[in-house]
Symmetry: C2
Subunit: 337 residues, 2 copies
């Protein structure tokens, strides 16, 4: 069973999850390329995953059979487990919590494709609606404080399987990254009387040099202090704390911007590894309306090395202004960095 453990110096939490060591991988250590073998996520292989917990499929089609478009299953090698029990508390100097949580896999398409740019806007839109539905279900479990939805594409981004999928991990504590953002939001509001994300949006749209895309409900831009080359944030133009409270019309446009930006990243950088993370407010924080949900898209073309681990400073060799200039062009020109 997995366990949360806290470092007594910095108070940072880690999840020790021995079950994860058994998971299969498309990436054999020897050659670092995908292994084209059996894929448990492909249509027709529904019996090779745990039974689905949610699905978009025709009304008359039985569960766990072909015919679906988006399929949600529990992770077979979960980092956290709904049934985890056991003591929370201190072990001498050290704080621990049992590994209680939820870990689901959202299979984005029945076809064996890798990047979101191999899908289409309708499929991405179905995916966004499913993420929304899962978050609404999971927040009903009052033991959960927050859920993180993320996507790893390519080995350098931490993916173990190639077939396009997202993951959802709900935790009984607010993750430290989200807590730090909430603190920042509170600090900025106390000083300036407004939401820091709303202010960044207004500034970026005003100056334009880092803007990648703008629609009716969303804008995408390369953040001023980008950690990664071609890092792109997607924010709703109107202040909103929670992804799962957005309407279907909003999610349709979100699918369009996601598909567009990822397609441009794939064509300018020859299909790099990347991570996508949805940052959304905790389920039940007192002042959680202050948060401004958003998506962070992080291409992984440079490594994270000793300096980053030792200092917390990322070194980014591509100025966000240059990244935005490339990504705002349509069609994009392939780039060598």
């Amino acid at each position: 069973m997995s366990e949360f453990r806290q470092d007594p110096v910095t108070d940072r939490w880690v999840i020790i999850a021995p079950e994860r060591a058994g998971r299969p991988t498309d990436f054999p250590a020897e050659d670092r390329h995908f292994r084209r073998g059996f894929c448990p996520f492909c249509e027709g292989h529904e019996d090779r995953t745990p039974p689905e917990v949610d699905c978009i499929r025709p009304a008359n089609s039985p569960g766990n059979t072909p015919g679906w478009t988006v399929r949600v299953v529990p992770n077979r090698f979960p980092a956290l487990n709904r049934e985890a029990a056991g003591p929370n508390g201190s072990r001498g100097l050290f704080q621990t919590m049992n590994g209680m949580g939820i870990h689901e896999v959202i299979i984005e398409t029945p076809r064996h494709v890798m990047s979101m740019s191999d899908m289409d806007v309708t499929s991405v839109s179905d995916l966004m609606r499913m993420v929304c539905r899962r978050l609404r279900v999971i927040r009903e479990d009052t033991r959960m404080a927050h859920a993180t939805v993320f996507k790893n594409v390519g080995m350098a981004a931490g993916a173990s399987l190639e077939h396009a999928h997202s993951q959802l991990i709900a935790t009984p504590v607010i993750p430290q990254t989200v807590a730090a953002e909430l603190d920042g939001v509170r600090r900025f509001r106390a000083r300036n009387g407004e939401c820091v994300f709303c202010r960044i949006l207004a500034d970026e749209l005003d100056h334009k040099e880092r803007v990648v895309w703008k629609g009716r409900y969303f804008a995408a831009f390369a953040p001023f202090a980008s950690r990664f080359p071609f890092e792109t944030w997607i924010l709703p133009l109107e202040h909103a704390a929670r992804f799962e409270e957005q309407s279907s019309e909003y999610l349709g446009e979100l699918a369009e911007v996601l598909y567009t930006v990822i397609s441009r990243i794939d064509s300018s950088l020859s299909g790099p590894a990347y991570n996508v993370v949805i940052h959304t407010a905790p389920f039940r924080e007192r002042d959680d309306r202050l948060y401004h949900w958003h998506v962070e898209l992080m291409p992984r073309v440079t490594g994270v090395a000793g300096f980053e681990w030792g200092t917390g400073f990322h070194i980014n060799p591509v100025a966000p202004e240059r990244a935005a200039a490339v990504l705002a062009r349509d069609p994009v020109v392939p780039l060598s960095i």
Copy 2:
């Protein structure tokens, strides 16, 4: 010229360093293996690096010629630059600082080897003494607040060249990781009247289950809240704030424990990518004697994925107790995880 930029939400700093994009790499994107080509760090190629700033070589041997054992050169593609100038301050919403700092490369051996386990204890000992010497020189530049010494081995650990080398980056600000550790040290001392690292050491040596190595001056153990499989910390047994104030005898034993632990990691995990980072006190902080310098060794056998970036929680599939049991054995048994 490079630039520090601060994220207005979380206050984290990044370094935007466009010059870094031009650096050569042994890792072509297509096949992710080392390219065996010309190596500027090998003996005989001294004219292919910037002129050396320090060196261990026979007394009668001229600079920038063969015959050396450890050689220090400025980084040709520096993240930060001693001559950087320009405004520090705010650009509207955004804080910046010019990219002033020092970035040196310490070539660890004249031979084209990759891991520290391909060297010997004497060479590692020479390297430690050189690191010590560079830190003592660099701290004299009163514009510098701190220096981080680190080592990247293998592409997955962010190395761009194969030949064994360390890097030193001095910064005009205290890195956020070191600041967080110093805060933790202060908090723990205020509550418990002792150094948290001294207390961890005493606990680990008492319980033994995570201890990897113990000598006269140093101990190595797998930390309770390890972020990475086989993460190992090496601490001086006696409280000391600064690496660069250790005696030559201490550094000799440090070389022995580093060589031993890395050799065991290389043989148990078939030569994985890894990072080594020396965490040492800021040069001039008021209460910097409170810090306890140490080395963090991080094998990079698992990826850092969307969940880690979104939450700050690392998922580690190998319990530190298991890692220590493997690494404490000598000779080690190759392990498959």
